[in-house]
């Protein structure tokens, strides 16, 4: 083939090809970090190290640096103070034990409840040990607290799952629960009037859902924080979630302790024997059908 003859064809095709290569190549060259130090090259280095640090890293640092332990301190002081005042001003409720006791909790329920109670108490204690670790000196004591936290979490998950299945039907929200919340379960008055509640009242239901579903969220976020299974930025979000939810759970745990140990006489015995007095059921669980 005579090149000279076809030159007028080759020239435009070659020029087009050259232009295409230059066009395709130039953005890449502009995107690459370049041969000298530049803002672009430092920015791509930053991406590897800091990532989204400004978003959750900064938030986590600020909150863990002072907010979380203050929230726990407030929960641990304000909630017991409120209930101490309640005990002094309104006082405990006690019921006559005359008549045939009513069966309330089966043997499996009671066993699972006490297993959950023991493990949850350990979770609260060891969790607070980590939160207030600097006042306990840290070291081996708090580190073994973390191990106990893990074992207690596994025991709690198993027992709470059992209780969830046993109590689910009785814990579903009912219209009279709104009424119960309006009168605060009758705990603000000394009178013995029938309270709108089935086997469990609205307060018990809130505690149930918080402890089971909330407990599940705690277990899931706790597992990730323990094993570092998630990416760093998600770990930060989980640590924030774990702390806030824990503060709520500790608050309700104190309420539950107060109600069962002090506010209602004989409440503790009912979880041991499984029976409640007829008068107590008539007043506090007026809509319970045996």
């Amino acid at each position: 083939m005579n090149i000279k003859k076809n030159f007028r064809f080759i020239l435009p095709v070659g020029a087009l090809l050259l232009a295409a290569v230059a066009w395709a190549g130039s953005p890449q060259i502009l995107l690459s970090p370049g041969s000298g130090p530049s803002t672009a090259s430092f920015a791509s280095i930053n991406k590897v190290f800091t990532g989204d640090w400004q978003q959750y890293g900064q938030l986590f640092t600020t909150w863990q640096g002072g907010l979380f332990n203050r929230i726990f301190l407030l929960v641990l002081t304000i909630v017991p103070t409120v209930f101490l005042l309640h005990y002094i001003i309104i006082g405990a409720k006690s019921f006559s034990h005359a008549g045939t006791p009513i069966k309330f909790f089966g043997i499996l329920t009671r066993f699972l409840h006490w297993l959950a109670a023991l493990s949850f108490s350990l979770l609260v204690i060891t969790g607070l040990m980590v939160v207030f670790g600097k006042f306990l000196g840290g070291g081996a004591l708090i580190m073994s607290g973390r191990s106990v936290h893990l074992i207690a979490a596994i025991v709690f998950c198993l027992s709470a799952a059992g209780l969830f299945l046993i109590w689910l039907k009785d814990m579903l929200p009912m219209p009279h629960d709104i009424l119960w919340l309006f009168i605060m379960g009758g705990y603000l008055s000394k009178k013995k009037k029938p309270i709108p509640a089935g086997k469990f009242n609205a307060g018990q239901k809130i505690w149930f859902w918080l402890a089971t579903i909330g407990g599940g969220v705690m277990a899931w976020s706790g597992y990730n924080l323990y094993s570092f299974a998630a990416p760093t930025d998600q770990l930060r979000q989980m640590a924030i979630l774990h702390n806030f939810l824990a503060a709520g759970l500790v608050g309700f745990f104190i309420i539950h302790l107060y109600m069962s140990l002090f506010a209602i006489k004989g409440s503790l015995a009912s979880m041991i024997t499984g029976y409640k007095s007829p008068e107590e059921v008539e007043i506090l669980h007026s809509r319970y059908k045996i």
């Binding site: 791509s44 800091t50 840290g138």
Partner: protein
């Protein structure tokens, strides 16, 4: 007092990982822990950059702020150190650190994290200086010997510098000046190359 700082010159770092090995070997760092690491960006492309990063020994360090047991502290010369006997291995410092510096060897119980380990600027730890305990837990104390950290001492291209912030910054400034600003100006690479 002098403020200790690290500076890695990305124009000089050649990704040889000598600093990582020097640190790990010289300080007898636990298995699974690298106090220093080298990362590269744009590998195999023109303008590839490498940088060696360990703990930056930050001012107002986030790790110190989040530690629930106050195990991390900062010396007067800016070096951030951890007390391994106080640390509980919770990992909060790792989540707070923008540089991924805190590392955790796996502990003895249920795969729990052991006490945090990170770059000490080769300044040992809170134990008595030059004691066996200090060497066992934290590695060498080269600062007390009047030497620069192992990583910077080993760096073949002198990309990694460590020491008094003013001296380091001054050395880097001279380098940048000697290299000239030509490469920095927009379009110069492309228009003029090296001529």
């Amino acid at each position: 007092m002098a403020r200790m700082k690290f500076l890695c010159d990305v124009e000089r770092c050649i990704d040889c990982n000598g600093c990582v090995i020097a640190c790990k070997e010289g300080n007898q760092v636990p298995v699974g822990v690298n106090r220093r690491r080298v990362i590269s960006i744009g590998e195999g492309k023109p303008g590839e950059k490498s940088i060696s990063v360990a703990c930056m020994h930050c001012s107002d360090a986030p790790c110190i702020a989040v530690c629930p047991v106050d195990a991390i502290y900062q010396r007067e010369d800016g070096i951030v150190l951890v007390n391994k006997k106080t640390c509980i291995g919770c990992g909060y410092c790792f989540m707070a650190c923008p540089f991924g510096a805190p590392q955790f060897p796996s502990g003895k119980v249920f795969g729990a994290r052991g006490a945090m380990d990170k770059c000490t600027f080769c300044a040992g730890g809170p134990e008595e200086t030059f004691s066996d305990e200090e060497k066992r837990l934290y590695g060498q104390n080269r600062i007390a010997e009047g030497k620069v950290p192992l990583c910077a001492a080993m760096c073949a291209t002198k990309a990694l510098m460590a020491g008094d912030a003013n001296v380091v910054a001054d050395a880097y400034r001279k380098r940048v000046f000697a290299r000239g600003s030509g490469a920095n100006a927009w379009g110069w690479d492309k228009a003029y190359g090296k001529k």
